[in-house]
């Protein structure tokens, strides 16, 4: 067996094991024969371990044979010759994707073990693991993607599973509302990503990152496109990354995502999914180098998000929101690092931050316990000494800053008031117009759905 063959098999296992898991969980629940808790947890274990071992194997072989980039071709899945389009499934193992995919496997595996006990006897046990499999597959595909459309595919799976997990407790209105909010923000990010992908296709006729970023394995790529094109495409990708990583002005969704069970908050919004935007920027980093304006925009966006996150984290009184904003701070810094042209530092930063935050979020219910033991060790109630900056801001300014941080920078309020509302108002207006027209044309009330009332709750339910 040649070395290429070994690479190919191992690479295939890395991608296929979460896909098989998803198929197993999905098909059984679709066919009305949901699996038991123990089987689900065993399947998840097997799948994660197989994927992780294969990824480690690839890493080992790459080190041993000094290969810096290993492509795994799965051929064209859709070819439209007239449009010069082909959907090319291709995965790449390189210095960026290998650490990231190993990280995904380690964290997801740990969370899987955690959740199998945490969600014991929970009616939504199977549903959680189905979304989990979806998420894992999305992460692996997005991470290893060798073409922009493959990456988009994984990116979508991650978004879908995240939104579904935020709305995991769908019997309460708040999780559903917040899940929809996350979903809407993701839509915007996806739209930007899609436009960027299409533009690249137009430029090159293909979506391979090799073609876009020029020759040489990551991070030594170099793009040869006009600065203006790089700027436009780069900005679009920046919007996509900002949506996924909750950078300004989309930061509002991050604390809202803490609606699901603790482990999902930990692994998704605390560590993996929130870094995916930064990962995208790393992947297309040669593009950033092509335009100074773009790099500056990335740095500015990262730093403002980080500063905002640091401020907002200071005023939060609940542990999960505080951790969410703390995550945002670090993601902002990571993005700024990328904008500065650093490559390995942000990667290390992502990995370290993801592990740390996962542990912190998992331990969030221990907060009281931890505070108690710290108080006992120190021998007094924990106090907060004002920091260096706090002492230098005048009283009025402090109150103002507190208010703005408490309101989370008014980001959500402003988006709602000036973007969402006009948008909704316009479509409602259109709806009214349509109804008026159809009423006129049919000469009577034309919409049957207007007559239907939602059923009232039966009085038997309560009391």
């Amino acid at each position: 067996m040649t070395i290429e063959r070994v690479f190919y098999v191992l690479g295939l296992i890395v991608v296929a094991s979460p896909a098989v898991l998803l198929a197993a969980l999905g098909v059984t629940s679709l066919s009305g024969r949901p699996l038991g808790e123990r089987t689900i947890s065993r399947l998840t274990q097997v799948s994660v371990i197989a994927g992780l071992m294969a990824a480690l194997g690839v890493l080992g072989l790459m080190l041993a044979f000094d290969q810096r980039s290993v492509p795994i071709e799965l051929g064209n899945w859709v070819v439209i010759p007239e449009q010069h389009f082909h959907f090319h499934l291709k995965f790449v193992f390189d210095r960026l994707s290998v650490p990231f995919v190993i990280l995904s496997y380690v964290l997801c595996g740990t969370i899987g073990a955690f959740t199998s006990r945490y969600l014991h006897r929970e009616p939504g046990y199977g549903r959680f693991f189905l979304f989990y499999a979806l998420f894992l597959l999305g992460m692996v595909v997005a991470t290893l993607a060798g073409t922009i459309e493959t990456m988009f595919f994984g990116w979508e799976l991650v978004g879908l599973s995240s939104a579904l997990l935020v709305a995991y407790f769908h019997e309460r209105p708040n999780p559903v509302r917040n899940g929809q909010r996350v979903w809407s923000v993701y839509r915007i990010a996806d739209a930007a990503f899609l436009i960027a992908a299409i533009s690249l296709h137009h430029l090159y006729g293909a979506g391979e990152f090799d073609a876009l970023m020029g020759v040489g394995p990551w991070p030594e790529g170099h793009v040869e496109i006009p600065v203006s094109t790089a700027l436009v495409v780069g900005l679009l990708l920046l919007i996509a990354a900002a949506g996924k990583s909750a950078l300004i002005p989309f930061s509002g969704w991050l604390p809202r995502a803490m609606e699901g069970p603790t482990p999902s908050s930990a692994v998704f919004y605390g560590s993996l999914s929130v870094h995916l935007g930064a990962y995208l920027l790393l992947r297309v980093s040669p593009l950033l180098e092509a335009s100074l304006v773009l790099s500056v925009a990335v740095v500015v966006l990262g730093l403002t998000s980080a500063a905002f996150g640091a401020l907002a984290a200071r005023v939060q009184t609940d542990i999960k929101s505080a951790l969410a904003f703390a995550s945002l701070t670090q993601v902002g810094i990571i993005v700024a690092e990328i904008g500065c042209g650093l490559r390995y530092i942000p990667l290390i930063h992502i990995i370290g931050h993801a592990c740390l935050r996962t542990l912190q979020l998992l331990r969030a219910p221990s907060l009281l316990h931890d505070y108690h033991s710290l108080e006992n060790a120190i021998g007094e109630h924990l106090t907060h000494t004002p920091s260096f900056w706090e002492r230098r801001i005048p009283e009025r300014g402090r109150v103002w800053l507190y208010r703005v941080s408490m309101e989370r920078g008014f980001l959500d309020a402003v988006l709602d008031a000036y973007i969402v509302r006009p948008f909704v108002a316009f479509f409602r207006w259109s709806d009214r117009m349509e109804r008026r027209w159809t009423d006129v044309l049919s000469g009577s009330e034309s919409r049957e759905s207007d007559q239907v009332h939602s059923p009232s709750i039966s009085p038997e339910e309560f009391l």
Binding site: V106, H349, P455
Partner: protein, 1040 residues
């Protein structure tokens, strides 16, 4: 409760003015209805519906359910499942129903039999109900009109078909149909059947014909019954604007309000989590809110701009909270006579936060940041300001309403879409189903007059879903109650018949005094099995030592006693005198490590600190993976590390030097007199007050629970210690009882403790079933052998107790050995991902007060609080019993009722599932990102509970018990209001009296059989569900 609002209040208007008094009064009234759970770190179980205790239980759960929108009993189908599974028997239903109806049981309902029979049928057979549309679908598309219901007895079915067939063939066919309406009805039925081939119809066709006919007859009969329930008031007094608007527009104004309130209450009540304190906190909630929201350049949207204008106006005009409430109410158009209702509903709209504000204001002087007096009024003022702004916004946007706010309610109410529902289908279907199971034939029904139909319908509707559930609940309780009383009587008889077994003529080898907690029941039972020569007692787990305690590694004093006692004494744990020097270094090391850890914790959430920790964060992958995959191993490593900075030997500073007790040096501890009083009280209460009763070794065993990643950890601790851990109390009691000076004093008071008797304090952790013994160095050499024997027994007993607990954990295999079970529960306690470290008080149902003799050897399935009491050492008026019950009844009832409500409505009264819980402000949990505070118990704690009211079986006489009930208001409320069940037991004659409506009635046992088993393990092994009573053979009659 006294008024707490008499301090200076910054009001412009005179303080005593009439509206202010009314508002204060209304707020205080409403405050009683708010959840009374304080900060979650000190969890005290109490009756969730404490505010309704002056009502009867059934009235109380109904009133509470209506007010809070919560269930009063389990849903009906849950009781039906219990009926199917035999947890409720039909005989229980019959007995309860007869009892409930009294003389009305035999009242005839038209021609349909007695009221009793009708109701029994309604209980036995589930009557399907559905939405009108769904009902129509069921009638049209399912077999409802083609086949009899499955429950209908075959003979009833046969008879109905047969009789109807005869009647149709005989009377209708042959011109007997002079009745026009029947012809009408039948005309519709005929259309669906081929009349000509009637002679050759098969059985199934006849069945369908009969059912169709029956359905039409029911439908026509019921259709003539007028609905007498008056239309609901569209806008009842005191209804909030938000509710009217929600009904009219579907827009929830509270969404706007809540968002702001969460962000106001959280920081205001924060006990030190946030890095930044809310500005102007000292000026109170109201001022702080106004000042924060009147900031310039911080209102980019119209909602925040409106809020800014309003808060600025209130500041400029200097309007105080009470005036602001008055102003808001008048702006909202709330008339003065509906203030009380309106304020009540406004406060209950976010009852978690409002309740916490009230608790922090009235009941949390020990907290780092209690709320100042008047905070709840300020909360209301803020709420009403936001309420009216939100109502205005919603009305403007969704109703295009621009008129004055005070007319909004009427205007919006007129726009609520009417939901007129024709109840005929629904009623007809109920009668139709009942007719099938009761065998009412269409020929009988079709002759009924309108009046009789009306009687029938009203009779059915009088036995509503709620009433049915009430009866089901009574039946459910009856079954378990009767089983318990039967078991106690039978066990006591068999014990008496066998006579005292002379196993240990010299008295018990050693004695163990545990808490009355029902989790110690299995521990005691197993201990008695392991070592039949030992004797066990139960007493409230603070052992009479009410104190503020500070352990060696604790920063603060904590009360360790029941909540209704305010401790006068302080106690500290110190390093042994010889270790004093070396301990200073350890304390310093602990402090340093603590500070560094604290800095690191905070640092990860800041800009630069986070950058640094983020870069090094990969290292956390090791603890992350290790703690989740190998919790037990990791905890050992952590403990090893912890032992470096822990003090190896400690002692209690028990004796006070100064006269006055207090927290300062020298004032800590007890005088010898006080110690003697405590020891005497404790020993007399459990009936260990004669020298011949003492064994050479008495082990005092406190309990508590420690688990990780569990915000509700304190809810598993000892209830008698006010949600604290009772180890120090046990240790202090033992040390006091060993003191020769105390013993001298006691001898003078007639309580002689034999010289050789030694007391040892221990602590039982009910989560990992570990046992810690205190002050072992003080055990004399002579007693060491006995102690080791006792220790071996205790160790085996806790292992077996862990084993018995494990049968309830689905994730523990039923094939575990006791050793494996011990490892399993140890892992549980240390596992970050474990949401059920233990099940706490779940399944509690009984409380026995009396000598252990009649409950020893009875398998109680960890469901009984066991209180030791010896009536032979008490006098006629039973003062010892009275003192004991003053604490035991309210505390146990509080635990039981909190579990009842959290189980019956896990999301309404309980705090729902633990999975999305988010600790906020260090005082409580929210659901997810932001929600109301969630008091009550999480589902994971109560899921195996069986909601029955606690049954007290007290060894006493009806007369003595009556006196105690009448003389003690707290007991009287609970007992007379039926919040608990009560029986008194005479162990010598094995006679039981049950308390029924104010009287003690002799209880006649249903059965005298009691299964026997050799050991507890044989009885419960391999079984996960609830288990019945059994006599455990080898323990009977041992010890004495």
């Amino acid at each position: 409760m006294t008024s707490l609002y008499n301090s200076e209040y910054g009001e412009r208007a005179d303080i005593g003015s009439l509206p202010h008094v009314a508002i204060r009064h209304a707020v205080e009234q409403a405050a009683h209805l708010l959840p009374s759970q304080g900060p979650i770190t000190v969890f005290v179980h109490h009756n969730t519906l404490h505010a309704f205790e002056d009502l009867d239980f059934d009235e109380g759960v109904k009133a509470g359910g209506l007010l809070f929108g919560c269930h009063a009993y389990l849903p009906e189908e849950r009781y039906r499942t219990k009926l199917e599974r035999g947890r409720i028997r039909v005989t229980d239903l019959e007995a309860v129903l007869l009892d409930d109806l009294g003389d009305d049981a035999d009242r005839l309902v038209a021609h349909f039999g007695t009221r009793y029979a009708l109701r029994l049928a309604m209980l036995q057979f589930s009557l399907q109900t559905a939405e009108p549309a769904q009902l129509r679908w069921m009638i049209a598309e399912t077999d409802a009109l083609r086949r009899f219901r499955e429950e209908v007895a075959p003979d009833v079915r046969e008879e109905m078909i047969d009789k109807t067939r005869r009647w149709v063939m005989r009377d209708l066919q042959n011109g007997g149909a002079k009745d026009a309406p029947v012809i009408d009805v039948l005309g519709d039925v005929w259309e669906q059947f081929d009349r000509r081939s009637m002679d050759s119809w098969d059985d199934r066709t006849w069945e369908a014909f009969v059912l169709n006919f029956l359905w039409r007859v029911c439908h026509r009969g019921v259709g003539e019954v007028r609905s007498d329930d008056a239309h609901e008031d569209v806008c009842p007094p005191g209804q909030r604007h938000r509710d009217v608007l929600l009904a009219a527009t579907g827009e929830d104004a509270d969404l706007l309000v809540n968002e702001v309130l969460f962000r106001t209450c959280g920081p205001f009540l924060d006990q030190g989590f946030a890095e930044w304190e809310i500005p102007h906190r000292r000026q109170g909630l109201y001022q702080s809110f106004l000042k924060l929201h009147s900031q310039s350049f911080a209102s980019p949207t119209s909602w925040s701009a409106g809020l800014r204008r309003e808060t600025k106006r209130l500041i400029d005009l200097g309007i105080g909270p009470l005036d602001s409430i008055g102003e808001s109410l008048s702006l909202l158009g709330v008339a003065e006579d509906e203030w009380e209702e309106y304020i009540k509903h406004s406060l209950l709209a976010l009852r978690g936060w409002a309740g916490m504000v009230w608790q922090m204001e009235t009941n949390a002087e020990w907290a780092p940041h209690p709320a100042p007096a008047g905070s709840l009024i300020e909360f209301l003022a803020v709420r009403l300001i936001l309420d009216r702004l939100a109502a205005e916004t919603v009305a403007r946007e969704s109703l295009s309403y621009v008129g004055p706010l005070c007319d909004l309610r009427e205007s919006a109410a007129s726009q609520i879409p009417s939901r007129e529902q024709d109840g005929t289908d629904h009623r007809a279907f109920t009668v139709f189903q009942l007719a099938q199971v009761r065998g009412w034939k269409p020929e009988d029904l079709q002759n009924l007059s309108g009046e009789l139909w009306s009687t029938l319908v009203h009779e059915i509707e009088a036995f509503s879903g709620l009433e049915r559930r009430r009866v089901f609940h009574l039946a459910f309780e009856r079954k378990y109650r009767n089983e318990t009383l039967d078991a106690v009587i039978a066990h006591s008889r068999s014990h008496r018949d066998k006579g005292p077994v002379p196993v240990a003529e010299a008295g018990p080898a050693y004695q163990v005094v545990c808490c009355i907690d029902e989790r110690e029941e299995s521990f005691r039972r197993h201990l008695e099995e392991v070592d039949p020569d030992c004797e066990t007692f139960g007493v409230a787990g603070f052992f009479g030592v009410a104190m503020y305690y500070r352990g060696i590694a604790d920063a603060h004093f904590k009360p360790l006693c029941p909540v209704n006692i305010k401790p006068q004494h302080y106690l500290v744990e110190e390093p042994l005198y010889s270790l004093l020097q070396s301990d200073r270094r350890r304390t310093e090391a602990r402090r340093r490590i603590g500070q560094v850890t604290h800095q690191a914790h905070r640092g990860t959430r800041t800009f630069l600190g986070g950058l640094l920790t983020g870069l090094l964060g990969s290292l956390t992958a090791f603890p992350l993976v290790a703690r989740i995959l190998f919790p037990r191993l990791t905890s050992r490593i952590r403990r090893l590390y912890g032992s470096i900075v822990e003090t190896p030997g400690t002692e209690l500073r028990l004796e006070r030097v100064a006269d006055e007790p207090g927290p300062e040096d020298g004032h800590v501890g007890y005088s010898v007199d006080e110690m003697a009083a405590i020891v005497e009280g404790g020993l007399r209460a459990i009936g260990l007050a004669r020298p011949e009763l003492f064994s050479p070794l008495v082990i005092i065993c406190g309990h508590g629970s420690a688990s990780l990643n569990n915000p509700h950890e304190a809810a598993h601790d000892c209830g008698a210690c006010g949600g604290g851990r009772g180890g120090p109390n046990a240790r202090a009691f033992a040390q006091m009882a060993n003191d020769p000076r105390v013993r001298r004093l006691l001898r003078d008071r007639g309580l002689v403790i034999p010289e050789e008797t030694l007391f040892v304090g221990t602590y039982h952790n009910t989560c990992d079933d570990s046992l810690t013994c205190y002050d072992l160095d003080r055990i004399p050499v002579l007693q060491r052998n006995l102690f080791e024997r006792a220790k071996a027994g205790l160790d085996e007993a806790r292992k077996r107790s862990a084993h018995e607990r494990c049968r309830r954990f689905e994730s523990a295999k039923t094939t575990l050995t006791p050793e494996g079970a011990q490892r399993h529960v140890e892992g549980r306690a240390e596992d970050l991902s474990q949401t059920r470290p233990e099940y706490g008080h779940a399944t509690n149902a009984l409380c026995f007060v009396g000598r252990r003799e009649w409950s020893r050897g009875l398998f109680l399935d960890r469901r009984a609080f066991l209180t030791s009491y010896d009536p032979s050492q008490d006098d006629e008026r039973s003062p010892i019993l009275e003192r004991m019950l003053q604490a035991v009844i309210p505390v146990c009832a509080g635990i039981n009722l909190e579990y009842y409500f959290s189980y019956v409505d896990p999301t309404g009264y309980g705090c729902g599932t633990k999975l999305p819980h988010n600790i906020t402000s260090l005082i409580g949990v929210m659901d997810g990102a932001a929600s109301d505070l969630r008091p009550g118990l999480p589902w994971q704690m109560v899921e195996i509970h069986e909601p029955v009211r606690l049954l007290f079986v007290i060894e006493s006489t009806p007369t003595a018990m009556q006196r105690i009930i009448n003389d003690n208001e707290a007991i009287s409320l609970l007992v007379k209001g039926n919040w608990v069940q009560l029986a008194v037991f005479d162990a010598d004659t094995a006679q039981m009296h049950r308390y029924v409506d104010g009287d003690f009635v002799v209880y006649e046992p249903e059965s005298t059989e009691l299964p026997t088993t050799d050991t507890s393990i044989d009885w419960y092994r391999g079984w996960r569900d609830h288990l019945g009573f059994a006599e455990v053979g080898q323990m009977i009659g041992a010890a004495r």
